[in-house]
Subunit: 202 residues, 2 copies
């Protein structure tokens, strides 16, 4: 499994242009979403929501909000990862429901009290977006594992994406735009710092 | 590959106590670090640094900074993921070097100018930490792929971790503490929202 996983991590690359005429099957896009769904998250709160777009009209509108990056409009399917905001408030129905799942029975009230302090002391948007990046990583790995290319896009106009998707900005913040498809170009050479520069043994 | 990857994502769980007497081989921990190294990052800037700890003395000191969570002290090896800060400043040597790798030759100056605006408008710590979560996800996937358990810990006293690791806080911020090892308990039942609640098709 080691060499197969390394091969997947090596193969995954940022695709800057997709073959616009090649589509991902519904089964494959479900598999990618499932990898996102199974991801770990802080307090098990699944801070992400996945909005899936596949019409040409929507892709081009989103491309305009992504400074016209052509991988958006040429992709087969786009997953917009929204970071939950209001649902993470200690008084929300969502929060109580998910905390009750992690801390059943008598443990719940103490966990909620602890979470209330955490919430008050935390930049909730930043923390929620952190978790979205975990789900994004797993979706990219899943896609690469079945030969589907991707590109995680953080460079977009959030206000424009909020408007296009008609999102309640108190409830969700667009964290990443993830086009998937079959890449139209060969991957560039993977450039990474050597492990020696990246890792410090103490 | 689909069923093998799903099996890995299903198998990965947050381990709350490791078998303290079982060690990870150097080869396996290198494989996990390599998965982190190959991760994608915004602008290709590899915003992470990995500090690896494995002495019992260090693990227990770190456990104290993690509100005594026992998976820290019982793990075989701990990777502390530091989010780069000062290195991401447009004037840093690191930044110029990595941008020159992505934008060779004449493209560099325009890319640096663009990056300078981005840097001024961005919460750099939050953005850097986002990328660290991508690397963390890939390390957990790699570990699970070879039967090694993990637990991503965001709940720690950052000032205490900075002190323990003797980090320059202008240069790095501790983003995640990742203990790895062989879990001492069976995984709990994986609880996730159904895809129907998580995904919205537009």
């Amino acid at each position: 499994m080691k060499s197969q996983l390394l091969e997947i991590f090596q193969r995954r690359h940022a695709c800057h242009l997709f073959q616009a005429d090649r589509c991902i099957s519904a089964e494959d896009s479900n598999f990618i979403l499932e990898a996102g769904r199974l991801s770990p998250s802080s307090f098990g709160l699944e801070q992400w929501k996945f909005v899936v777009l596949s019409s040409q009209h929507q892709k081009l509108a989103l491309q305009a909000a992504c400074f016209q990056q052509p991988q958006v409009g040429t992709s087969s399917v786009i997953v917009v990862i929204l970071a939950k905001l209001a649902d993470l408030h200690p008084d929300s129905e969502y929060l109580r429901r998910l905390m009750a799942r992690e801390y059943p029975g008598d443990a719940l009230e103490a966990a909620l009290k602890n979470y209330r302090s955490f919430h008050a002391a935390t930049d909730i948007k930043a923390w929620s977006e952190n978790q979205c990046h975990i789900a994004a990583a797993n979706m990219m790995t899943a896609a690469a594992g079945i030969g589907i290319d991707s590109c995680a896009i953080g460079g977009f106009n959030p206000a424009e994406v909020i408007r296009l998707l008609d999102i309640d900005p108190a409830r969700y913040y667009p964290s990443l735009i993830m086009p998937f498809g079959y890449c139209a170009h060969a991957p560039g050479e993977k450039q990474r710092l050597a492990l020696e520069e990246l890792v410090e043994y103490r």
